[in-house]
Amino acid sequence: MDRRWDDCERRCPRLGGPVTFAYCRDHGGDRPGAPCGKLLDCWWERFDVAAYLQANLPAETVAKLLQREPRPKIHSLLEMIARARQDLDD
């Protein structure tokens, strides 16, 4: 893993405070270890993050990030409601 960028910091537009690139790569997603879906949005101006991801993350993860279409918030809400209800039934 190339860690040159890990300590670079920027203000996270979602959290409203400073975060490191390592946070965005390793913790920003829906579960620990998953990258934030806005990783490319936020870091592309700093360095060639697409090339970085391709060199350092599993191909499937990178493909998801690169192909990520803007997703209506309502979709993720509905998914989370369904998941919470499923957990309740279990």
Binding site: Y23, P70, I81
Partner: protein, 458 residues
């Protein structure tokens, strides 16, 4: 003497919100299965009145008396003529701002937190849950719930929880309960903590926890609340622009340019949507949603001759460049990052009614300092993005010798974000360095290109 503040009396406060869905065509919200969303799909997390507002195409929606009563704690918010800023910039522009920092939590967020709490209360709900990043939204909802006697639980992303302890204090003063996410209070949180006890959390996890906490309440008396993006949130925020219109009319002015920062879209929409209606009806107004860029290209990348396109077809031009093969994601083509943006704002950009702008972090903080030292209020970091564009427009007006009227939204104060100002003033926000080797790598691309001269005037 010119008045700084243009005030409305409480009796003059608008009694209806403006619903932009009456005037634009928006693709109906579809579920992940591709079928239109049914009200019952959202009922586990929102009361029916808010679901109705989410899909309503009625242009004007009454603001309930109980909501107006709470709004009056700080509303109507002042419209301020930025006389000191105008003087500092020596601009012929007349600059006005809506001061939303005067609300109890210090931002525009209670404009929707209050009606959301109200509609939950009258639906028999006793508890609300939500997530918060920086803590502004958690504070706003805690405040709103306290006004209507509701319990409030806020899942605050661990990394922010540790960075901003006073946000938790504010929530708890308003009787909200703020827990760091992931927490042991939900199944989702417990599972994550079991595997990753030191995780700093994420907004996605916090939302999952807040939704689970609402859905899993066996009494059925808990609901979830969201402070951005959704249509009903934009609707409630339009009180900002509606007041501004009345206030500007009092002094016989009307904006040529409207500027707001665009994160989830709500403070921008709140100011802009009532004016978008005028633009739809033929008024000539420029409306700019402004979002942050992190671009260090100008200051950090080498000054070289490079192609303007990735294929290398365009002429070689002198520029600061990280190399023409450097590929930004196509999403940036419009200049606005659409992820997480309100669908209504995205739609208006798509229709050409809004012109997105972006500004970098250093410009933003510099503008924030200029405004704090002229108008006195320390702006929230997100507000500073709008301020940088305001200054740019005011300077443009000076160059053009035009008495342009600029209106912007001062969406919140930054009194709990002073760490960011410390860093800016200490020069630490400008110390981003491209790691060793990267510039050298970039320069390999340009090895056989001519080098531009660094020309200076005089």
């Amino acid at each position: 003497m010119t008045n700084r503040k243009i005030l409305l009396t409480e009796d003059e406060m608008p009694r209806q919100w403006y619903n932009i869905l009456a005037d634009i065509k928006l693709n109906p919200p579809l579920g992940p299965d591709g079928n239109p969303i049914k009200p019952e799909d959202l009922a586990p997390v929102f009361p029916m009145k808010l679901i109705e507002q989410e899909v309503s195409t009625q242009r004007w929606i009454d603001i309930p008396d109980a909501v107006q009563s709470v709004y009056r704690i700080w509303r109507p918010s002042p419209l301020v003529r930025a006389l000191s800023l105008e003087k500092v910039l020596d601009t012929p522009a007349r600059i006005y701002f809506k001061n939303e920092s005067v609300s109890p939590p210090g931002s525009h967020k209670p404009n929707t937190a209050v009606p959301q709490a109200y509609y939950n209360k009258i639906s028999g709900i006793e508890r609300m849950t939500t997530e918060t990043g920086a803590g502004q939204w958690g504070c706003a909802l805690s405040f709103a719930c306290s006004q209507f006697g509701l319990e409030c639980k806020v899942f605050m992303v661990r990394v922010s929880f540790d960075q901003k302890p006073y946000r938790k204090s504010m929530m708890e003063v308003w009787n909200g309960r703020c827990v760091a996410s992931p927490s042991n209070e939900t199944r989702a949180g417990r599972e994550i903590l079991a595997k990753f006890p030191d995780t700093p959390g994420s907004l996605g996890i916090a939302i999952s926890e807040a939704i689970e906490a609402a859905v899993s309440d066996p009494s059925g008396k808990t609901r979830y609340s969201l402070g951005s993006v959704l249509n009903h949130v934009m609707l409630h925020q339009t009180i900002i622009g509606l007041e501004a219109k009345l206030q500007l009319a009092k002094v016989g002015d009307y904006p040529d340019v409207i500027i707001g920062c665009a994160g989830g879209g709500s403070n921008f929409a709140g100011l802009a949507f009532p004016f978008v209606l005028d633009k739809i009806n033929g008024k000539a107004i420029e409306i700019y949603p402004v979002e942050p860029a992190a671009c260090p290209t100008l200051t950090k990348a080498p000054f070289v001759y490079d192609h303007g396109d990735t294929a290398g077809y365009t002429p070689l031009l002198p520029m600061h460049s990280l190399g023409h093969s450097f590929m930004p994601p196509p999403l940036h083509a419009g200049g606005l990052r659409y992820h997480g943006m309100a669908p209504t704002v995205s739609q208006l950009v798509d229709e050409g009614l809004l012109t997105p702008k972006s500004v970098n972090q250093l410009e933003s903080y510099a503008a924030g300092i200029t405004l704090a030292r002229s108008e006195g209020i320390i702006p929230a970091p997100e507000t500073t993005h709008a301020l940088a564009t305001v200054i740019e427009e005011a300077q443009k007006a000076k160059e053009e010798g035009r008495e342009k009227v600029i209106l912007f939204n001062w969406s919140g104060h930054g009194l709990l974000d002073l760490g960011a100002y410390d860093k800016f003033l200490a020069g630490q926000l400008s110390n981003f360095e491209l790691p060793e080797g990267v510039i050298a790598e970039s320069e390999k691309v340009f090895a056989h290109y001519p080098k531009p001269a660094h020309l200076k005037r005089g």
